[in-house]
């Protein structure tokens, strides 16, 4: 017995988990398109792999369970059983069951086994009901060797020699060949040697014939079936050239002589004799008049066709191995190293700028290009499409809406949007929260929807898209929307806002992110959205993202989450205040302006920018630094939660590639800075967390939250 820590077993566990999520995704798809045979094949294959490798690594319970489920799906894909809700429910439960079997649980064996039996009973019941029609499956001929190889494609050689009078019977060999081609990847070689000159050609007489190499998952019988009505009109041979067991070209394509012998075009003796003369085999054979040059050409064509077709599965295999599993910490270490490199590179650039050596400068520029692309490609390694996460939510929506007696459809788009793996991992929980909220509180009961004149089925749009240096993820439902009146009442009751405070709807909605709104009692008494919304907000904040909320009474609610692309490296704007350096994330910066102090020497707290009133906060004041601000103050205008805010500094230094370094445990409660970075001269600059600085500056006055 292999130990739990066996790396192969671990690999299997991981693979199986992945296969299960694929399986679930396919099942969800199948729910939409029940007669999609490709999906059925995919499901079958996934189960087959889970079963096969499960048996190999000693997961006998999984192998046994999956085997029975697989058998049912085999019948489904063969059209003997239909797809229905019962099957889907059973299959989802089967996924859960397999997942449970994968987890090394203690003392659960008996319970799990019982659960497995119940599930299998369900499957058999399902199969039994619909199996009223004569099921030939059991009585089928024992599977031949090629069928046993599963759905692996085989390579066949067909030789089709129509009798000369075939056309007169109404059969058209071209149609037959078309049907053959439809089975898979097909290479044809036409033998037209017997074609007479045009003036004596009889159109009804068939004088040509074909050699054909076919790569297909279809069985021999399936190929033979094509010719069922033409059997007597032609000579047909079907041979298996490659039984599909040849992996990675181990059974290479055959030699020309071999092919000719196999086809019966020459005898082995002829071949031997010919081989004794050192000339190209094809030439020798034709020279000797043993085969016609066209026969050789045909055989050569077959040779290359088989080679081609064999290579195809190889390239498919290569696609599989072209992605490789790497331990996350190795990748993190690589990203760290690249971060170091970027810092050193910035230091070199700074040093070169100071020294002004042209040769060094060109070297530094070269280094910069290299480190830039190294940085980009390293960071891109960690970028994964968000689609897999979305797929998981389908299951959540399906289960939860069924539980609540609601009919809810999850529509997703932007699955291909890529995000840092770490971000995706930490994004899962907040998104689940948001979806739960939409399902639980956003979308009304069917009766209420009917009363409101809406479609009975609710709809949640989950979308992801890139926007500049950010990823925008939206959860939008077409439910009842937020109840501003009740939110206000609750907020006043909790003392979050002054009674009768003048707040825009957006400001009111934003209140649901306040911790005070997250208690259980608030959840049920308000239109609901309080469940852990502060948790969502905090999680997004910790990813340096932001959350916006948009709601239309009666029409639905949208929650818009904006996230930076990566957590490791950002573009920053370096500024200087009282001799210290700070970095403002460039993604937030809209522009920089310079404002002269007012005539009377006082500082402005509000600036008028092209008609818009923008509040200004001074880092010097916020950080309690001594000294005077310059007479003409640079102001960095940033956009936070959709509102513009000015940050007054002493000097704007410039753009700076910023590798974010954690400030460490001692500073974990410091909210003003999201980390530190290393400047070109090796000293440190703090990265300003603008949103929380704004919040801090606004104090507890909620009217300041914009």
């Amino acid at each position: 017995m292999m130990s739990q820590d066996d790396p192969h077993r671990r690999a299997y566990l991981e693979e199986a988990r992945e296969l299960l999520s694929d399986l679930e995704a396919s099942l969800l798809e199948l729910e939409k398109i029940p007669d999609d045979t490709d999906l059925l094949h995919k499901i079958f294959r996934a189960m087959h792999t889970i079963k096969g490798s499960g048996a190999m690594f000693g997961f006998d319970d999984i192998a046994a369970f999956t085997h029975d489920v697989e058998t049912i799906f085999d019948r489904v894909r063969n059209g003997q059983l239909g797809v229905n809700r019962q099957l889907l429910d059973l299959s989802f439960h089967a996924c859960d069951h397999i997942r449970a079997l994968l987890e090394p649980g203690l003392d659960q064996d008996a319970a799990l086994a019982a659960q497995g039996r119940t599930l299998l009973d369900g499957f058999h019941q399902f199969a039994g009901e619909d199996a009223a029609e004569p099921v030939v499956a059991a009585a089928q001929t024992p599977p031949s060797a090629e069928e046993l190889s599963g759905c692996r494609p085989l390579i066949y050689r067909l030789r089709l020699k129509p009798h000369s009078d075939m056309l007169t019977t109404g059969n058209n060999p071209l149609h037959l060949i078309e049907d053959v081609s439809a089975l898979g990847d097909c290479r044809l070689f036409l033998h037209a040697e017997a074609l007479p000159s045009l003036d004596v050609l009889e159109p009804e007489v068939c004088v040509v014939w074909w050699d054909c190499v076919l790569r297909t998952t279809a069985g021999r019988q399936e190929i033979a079936d094509i010719f069922v009505f033409a059997e007597d009109e032609c000579d047909l041979t079907i041979d298996v050239l490659d039984n599909g067991c040849a992996e990675d070209g181990e059974q290479a394509h055959k030699l020309l002589g071999q092919i000719l012998v196999e086809r019966g075009d020459i005898t082995p003796e002829d071949l031997k004799a010919a081989l004794s003369v050192q000339k190209r085999l094809g030439d020798i054979l034709t020279d000797k008049g043993l085969v016609r040059s066209t026969q050789v050409a045909s055989a050569l064509a077959e040779q290359s066709a088989v080679r081609d077709l064999q290579q195809k599965p190889q390239s498919e295999r290569q696609e599989k191995t072209s992605s490789i599993r790497v331990a996350a910490d190795k990748l993190d270490f690589l990203v760290d190293l690249v971060g170091e490199l970027v810092i050193v590179q910035a230091q070199i650039r700074q040093a070169v700028d100071e020294r002004g050596d042209l040769y060094l400068r060109s070297l530094a520029e070269h280094l910069e290009r290299l480190s830039d692309s190294l940085r980009d490609s390293t960071l891109s390694i960690r970028m994964v499409p968000i689609g897999a996460t979305f797929a998981k939510f389908r299951r959540l929506v399906r289960d939860l809406s069924a539980e609540l007696g609601k009919d809810i459809e999850l529509v997703t788009s932007g699955e291909e949007t890529e995000l840092d793996k770490n971000v995706i991992e930490r994004l899962g929980d907040p998104l689940v929260h948001l979806l739960r909220n939409s399902i639980d509180h956003g979308i009304e009961q069917p009766a209420d929807r009917r009363a409101a004149g809406k479609a009975l089925a609710g709809r949640i749009h989950l979308t992801a898209a890139h926007a500049g240096g950010e990823v925008v993820i939206t959860v939008a439902d077409d439910g009842g929307g937020l109840d501003a009146v009740r939110i206000r009442a609750k907020a006043e009751q909790r003392g979050l806002i002054a009674p009768g405070a003048d707040l825009s709807p957006k400001e009111l909605y934003h209140l649901i992110f306040q911790p005070g709104f997250s208690t259980a009692s608030a959840v049920t008494s308000i239109s609901g959205r309080g469940v852990g919304m502060d948790v969502v907000k905090r999680a997004i904040d910790s990813l340096r993202g932001s959350v916006e909320i948009d709601s239309e009474p009666g029409q639905g609610t949208s929650i818009i989450v904006r996230l930076p692309l990566t957590l490791a490296i950002i573009d920053g704007l370096q500024v200087q205040v009282a001799g210290e350096y700070y970095v403002v994330p460039l993604a937030l910066v809209e522009e920089c302006v310079e404002i002269a102090r007012q005539d009377n020497g006082t500082e402005r707290h509000i600036v008028n920018m092209r008609g818009e009133v923008v509040p200004v906060m001074r880092l010097r004041d916020l950080f309690n630094f001594d000294g005077d601000a310059p007479a003409i103050e640079p102001i960095v205008v940033a956009k936070v939660d959709g509102e513009r805010i000015g940050i007054a500094v002493d000097r704007v230094v410039g753009e700076h590639q910023t590798v974010i370094k954690s400030l460490g445990r001692l500073y974990r409660d410091v909210k003003e800075f999201s980390g530190a970075t290393i400047r070109g001269d090796g000293s440190m600059a703090l990265i300003v967390d603008v949103p929380s600085l704004v919040r801090r500056a606004a104090g507890t006055d909620l009217r300041g939250i914009r």
Partner: protein
């Protein structure tokens, strides 16, 4: 898990704060640096002087003297940063501690170390692991984890909270 005794046993790095001689178990000391520029982090307690760049990492530096109420560490040719690795709640953290000067690696047998006296030490007894002796001079052996745990963010957050509102109101009207 009994570890094989290493040569590090009973070795202490001695250093001075004001005129007192202190010591740290060498096992917790990573390295000793010359005083470099410390980037201060605004609105944090004064005894946490800021962060330094330690080969690409941001490492906080604590002014032990200030923490112990012995006044701020001044910059001299002898001022050093002792980089220590401490365990806070089972989590390893690297920190820097300012010292007026670093003396030597000194060996003391466990038998030579006395328990901390209740009174008469310049710093709180809970930070002291024991008292050693070098000739006529006493050596205060610090329990560095305790020192840092005590300045963990309960205190830090408090300081921030106090500074928060009025600083905030001052700038956005």
């Amino acid at each position: 898990m009994a570890e094989a005794p290493t040569t590090n046993d009973n070795q202490y790095l001695t250093f001075t704060l004001e005129r007192e001689l202190f010591a740290l178990d060498i096992a917790s000391v990573r390295e000793v640096l010359e005083l470099v520029n410390i980037t201060r982090v605004p609105r944090t307690p004064e005894y946490i002087r800021g962060v330094i760049n330690l080969r690409g990492r941001a490492v906080p530096v604590v002014d032990l003297k200030m923490k112990f109420g012995l006044g701020a560490t001044q910059r001299t040719v002898n001022t050093c940063i002792i980089i220590v690795e401490v365990s806070l709640d089972g989590e390893g953290t690297v920190l820097g501690a300012l010292a007026d000067s670093v003396q030597e690696v000194y060996e003391m047998d466990t038998g030579q170390i006395e328990p901390p006296p209740r009174m008469g030490t310049p710093i709180r007894a809970e930070f002291i692991r024991g008292m050693g002796q070098s000739g006529e001079q006493f050596i205060i052996i610090l329990d560095i984890s305790k020192v840092f745990t005590s300045m963990e963010l309960a205190g830090l957050a408090q300081a921030l909270g106090d500074a928060g509102p009025e600083a905030g109101e001052a700038c956005v009207s």
